[in-house]
């Protein structure tokens, strides 16, 4: 197994009595695009800033390449950074912003000019050389910030919610460009975001954080299909969650309905659990009453979301069992589904995830 490029070893950060990071350990490999994902206050930006040296950790080691950078000031580390506010120098042109670090290296003027031109081409800003940041659109400013960060060919690229300040359409577009640029340059990149859709679309691996801890590290597919905890399950994508009781190995009772599950943890009979299912995993076509985990439901509410509807269902035999299901427009038409309809659905046993209920 290849050695990690960035090694975070039991890093903790305290602000007074508040623990922002609780003994975090993580490996990041060279060329990877990693996303730190989590709600506000989970510590993802704190961790990023510790890696950058802007808010050095209270204890724990950080290694980059072969160096122990734990105590080094930012000026002695090797990274480029893009902040949420971009922090572009307003009184310098685009060219001067991008070349800011290059000017200081003693490169020849001609070489600097050439490099800046190639960077402009890379981020798609040709023709904006003489403009000042306040004259640019949000998306353009972001590209300048990016070009400035990669100008010095850093070993690590750190992005602190770079797309948050943009409106939805620009964000989508830039997201793709960011991924392409990173692939092309091969620079190890860490991006902080609270937008799980963004993380799923763009990352090679996602680090889901909550309350100063890492909840799960994995590829987007792993995180989505096999969430390791109820938090990850509910934070990434939509997730139904029902309270249940373990009645036997592989069998749960939800209210008055029994469900068969495949991947549950081995908990003693009688323990309280949470059984989770994604709305899109609810099967509605061709359900036989003898099918495993099938039940009769009524459609109580519907949200039209364009290509599909998210329906709120309640079981006819036990109105306390309520969950959401996604029905494609096709299915709704073929099965004549509408508000108040009663229909049979099945909950596939391999798609049900079971977690121990928190005390």
């Amino acid at each position: 197994m290849r050695a990690p490029y960035l090694r975070i070893d039991r890093v903790s950060k305290n602000f007074g009595s508040f623990q922002a990071l609780k003994t975090i350990s993580l490996d990041v490999y060279e060329g990877e695009f990693v996303c730190f994902l989590g709600p506000s206050g989970c510590g993802k930006t704190t961790l990023l800033r510790a890696i950058a040296g802007l808010d050095i950790q209270t204890s724990g080691r950080i290694e980059q390449g072969d160096r122990d950078i734990s105590a080094l000031p930012p000026s002695k580390r090797d990274f480029g950074i893009v902040f949420q506010s971009y922090a572009l120098f307003p009184n310098l042109t685009v060219v001067d912003n991008i070349g800011y670090g290059l000017r200081n290296t003693g490169m020849r003027k001609a070489d600097i000019r050439e490099r800046i031109q190639s960077l402009l081409a890379m981020v798609g800003l040709k023709g904006q050389e003489k403009k000042f940041p306040p004259q640019l659109s949000g998306g353009q400013q972001q590209r300048v910030a990016l070009a400035r960060a990669i100008a010095m060919s850093p070993g690590l690229l750190l992005l602190d919610e770079p797309l948050s300040a943009l409106d939805a359409r620009v964000r989508l577009h830039l997201r793709g460009e960011l991924k392409q640029l990173q692939r092309r340059l091969g620079v190890t990149t860490i991006m902080v975001t609270h937008d799980q859709e963004e993380a799923l679309a763009i990352a090679d691996r996602i680090v889901v954080m909550n309350d100063g801890n890492i909840e799960q590290v994995g590829t987007p597919q792993e995180i989505y299909r096999n969430p390791a905890s109820p938090f990850v399950a509910s934070f990434v994508g939509h997730m139904n969650s029902l309270a249940a009781e373990q009645v036997a190995g592989g069998r749960l009772r939800v209210g008055s309905v029994d469900l068969v599950v495949e991947n549950g943890p081995n908990l003693p009979v009688g323990s309280r659990v949470k059984v989770c299912l994604r709305p899109e995993d609810v099967q509605v076509r061709g359900i036989q009453t003898s099918q495993l985990n099938s039940l009769q439901v009524r459609i109580e509410a519907m949200e039209f979301l364009g290509s599909f509807c998210r329906a709120e269902l309640s079981a006819t035999q036990d109105a306390a069992i309520r969950f959401k299901a996604d029905f494609s427009v096709n299915a709704m038409r073929d099965l004549a589904l509408d508000l108040g309809s009663e229909v049979s659905v099945a909950l596939p046993k391999e798609r049900l995830r079971v977690f121990a209920a928190e005390a």
């Binding site: 950058a52 040296g53 310098l92 100008a151 994995g218 792993e222 905890s229």
Partner: protein
């Protein structure tokens, strides 16, 4: 350690790792960090020499006797026993309170007119109201002599009372303190939410009720602030009572008499400390008030659009005209007095009073001294203030050091000029002090003036720096560019308007200052403001007016220059500053 249990196997944890606890990290400082801390250290030395040690010397003197032995509070006891000195204290309080009451009322009405009415010519009235800032504080005193003195034009209006004494002092101080109160109240009244007024009207509240329940409470902290500022300003002013106080003694002139007249440094120190009390209290109150000041202008507030109200607008106009006439009359009288051959007997116009050389009062050398001092104060003071504010705001770590420098920067506001000057005599004139050599040079005047007006400049700089993106230094570090290059290439250009403000503030105040420098000048470093004071002492009121007017004209010219430079600056940086 929940993350170890739930994280998949790509986090490899060995038994050895589990065994030892990770060590606490001690961040290493870069050479830039050391450089910044060195800068803060130099700032600390500045404050030590320019503020802390002189004040300490003053304190020490007040508890010593003439031989330098420690005698506890005996001087203070003697002070409270001395009937004459106690009378001065009562006089000062009376004058300060009365001036405060009058100034606040006028300034409030004026500020209301400027911000809440649809009166015409508001720009012009605002400009006129700031005129007293251009003049040394002794100028209104001189003008009042011409207006109400023994040969005064309006002498009859006094009904037999003399202008020399409390009446003259109060009128002069109202002129002097007016712009300070006005600026605070204009700011306080500017932040008004239209929706509150609409709501009050919808509830059928009468105009007077609206004034009492919405307008006044909204600006109450501004009123409190202005009250304390004016009180302290008048309480500690030296120029007006010196010229027109006559036999009516106040604390500031007492200090002068004790030190210059009687060489009773110990008593002078005691009186000086009495002068510092209202400044300290005012400072403490202001800090408390700042904390309680709720943001009146929230993001959702709608700026107030005053409606046209004929009666109110008419009343406002009348008030503003009356006050403007008063201000212009005082200034005009001083100007007039400076070009009259021999008041009131020979009213031919002449510029002979401006021929300082011919009249043997040091010539234009004093003027050049003033200019030179103002220029040095402006240049050195602005650099010092902005650089140390930058270091306080943007250094990494070193919290206690930055907090200390910030605190030191706030001290000068609580120290009246005359007290600082006194402290300087005690500290710099001490025989064993190696800095003794600075005494009676221009350097000590420059140092004193920079220190005296430091706080407002420091706060202006800090405010401007807080508005600059906090991450510039982080970006600079990631690009391996040292902080001082970013300071020069980015921070200074972005903050240039504030820097210009500070430079002009220092310049104008250096031109007009009297209180502190009156103890520190020598024959080679005499300033125009001091020359004016001395020449008035000798009975040459007309020439004192001429000198005062020279200062006014210079200050006005500099303000005009500032406006032009400001406009040029804005135009050149239009592209990236925006509007």
């Amino acid at each position: 350690m929940a993350n170890l249990l739930t994280a998949p196997a790509n986090v490899v944890v060995s038994a050895a790792d589990l065994a030892e606890k990770p060590a606490a990290i001690r961040p290493r400082l870069s050479s830039e960090d050391y450089l910044m801390r060195l800068g803060l250290g130099l700032a600390a030395i500045f404050f030590l020499i320019a503020v802390v040690l002189p004040l300490y010397a003053l304190l020490k003197k007040s508890v010593e006797n003439a031989d330098g032995a420690f005698i506890g509070l005996a001087n203070f006891a003697a002070y409270f026993d001395d009937a004459g000195l106690m009378r001065s204290l009562r006089n000062t309080c009376f004058v300060a309170l009365t001036s405060m009451a009058i100034t606040l009322t006028l300034a409030f009405g004026y500020a209301y007119a400027l911000t809440r009415s649809r009166m015409k010519l508001r720009g012009l009235f605002k400009a006129i109201a700031l005129i007293p800032l251009l003049a040394p504080s002794l100028l209104p005193g001189l003008a009042l002599v011409y207006l109400f003195g023994n040969q005064g034009i309006f002498k009859a209006l006094l009904f037999g009372h003399s202008i020399y004494g409390p009446i003259g002092i109060i009128i002069g101080e109202v002129f002097f303190a007016f712009p300070h109160a006005l600026m605070i109240l204009v700011t306080a009244l500017s932040n008004a939410d239209q929706r509150l007024y609409e709501a009050a009207e919808a509830l059928r509240a009468r105009p007077w009720k609206i004034f009492l329940s919405v307008t006044l409470p909204g600006c109450r902290y501004g009123l409190i602030s202005a009250a304390f500022v004016v009180f302290t300003l008048v309480f500690t002013d030296f120029g007006v009572p010196k010229v027109i106080g006559g036999d009516y003694n106040v604390l500031a002139t007492d200090v002068y008499k004790q030190v210059i007249g009687q060489f009773n440094f110990q008593m002078g120190a005691v009186v000086g400390l009495m002068l510092t009390l209202p400044a300290i209290i005012s400072f403490a109150v202001d800090r408390l008030v700042q904390k309680k000041q709720v943001a009146l202008l929230t993001a959702r507030a709608v700026p107030l659009q005053p409606k046209r109200r004929r009666l109110i607008d008419g009343g406002c106009l009348a008030l503003c005209v009356a006050v403007s006439v008063f201000l212009l009359l005082v200034l005009g009288m001083a100007a007039f007095g400076s070009v009259i051959k021999y008041w009131p007997y020979n009213l031919t116009l002449t510029l002979s009073k401006y021929d300082f050389k011919a009249l043997g009062t040091g010539g234009w050398g004093d003027y050049l001294n003033s200019l030179r001092m103002a220029a040095m104060v402006s240049l050195l003071g602005t650099s010092m203030v902005f650089t140390s504010a930058y270091l306080v705001e943007k250094s990494r770590g070193f919290r206690w050091g930055r907090g200390l420098i910030h605190f030191c920067a706030m001290i000068p506001l609580a120290v009246p000029g005359i007290v600082l000057g006194l402290g300087y005599i005690f500290f710099f004139n001490a025989p064993h002090n190696p800095l003794n050599v600075l005494y009676t040079t221009m350097a000590i005047l420059v140092l004193n003036t920079i220190a005296h007006y430091y706080t407002v400049c420091h706060l202006t700089a800090i405010t401007a720096l807080k508005q600059v993106d906090a991450e510039f230094e982080a970006v600079s570090a990631s690009l391996k560019v040292p902080f001082y290059k970013t300071f020069w290439r980015v921070t200074v250009p972005v903050c240039l308007p504030a820097i210009l403000d500070i430079a002009i503030y220092y310049f104008v105040n250096a031109m007009t200052t009297v209180s502190a420098v009156v103890f520190l000048y020598s024959s080679e470093t005499k300033l125009m403001s001091i020359a004016a004071l001395n020449t008035d002492d000798a009975g040459n009121t007309a020439q004192a007016c001429a000198m005062g007017m020279t200062i006014v004209v210079t200050s006005a010219a500099v303000k005009l220059l500032e406006a032009l430079i400001g406009r040029g600056l804005r135009r050149r940086s239009q592209a990236w500053r925006g509007a």
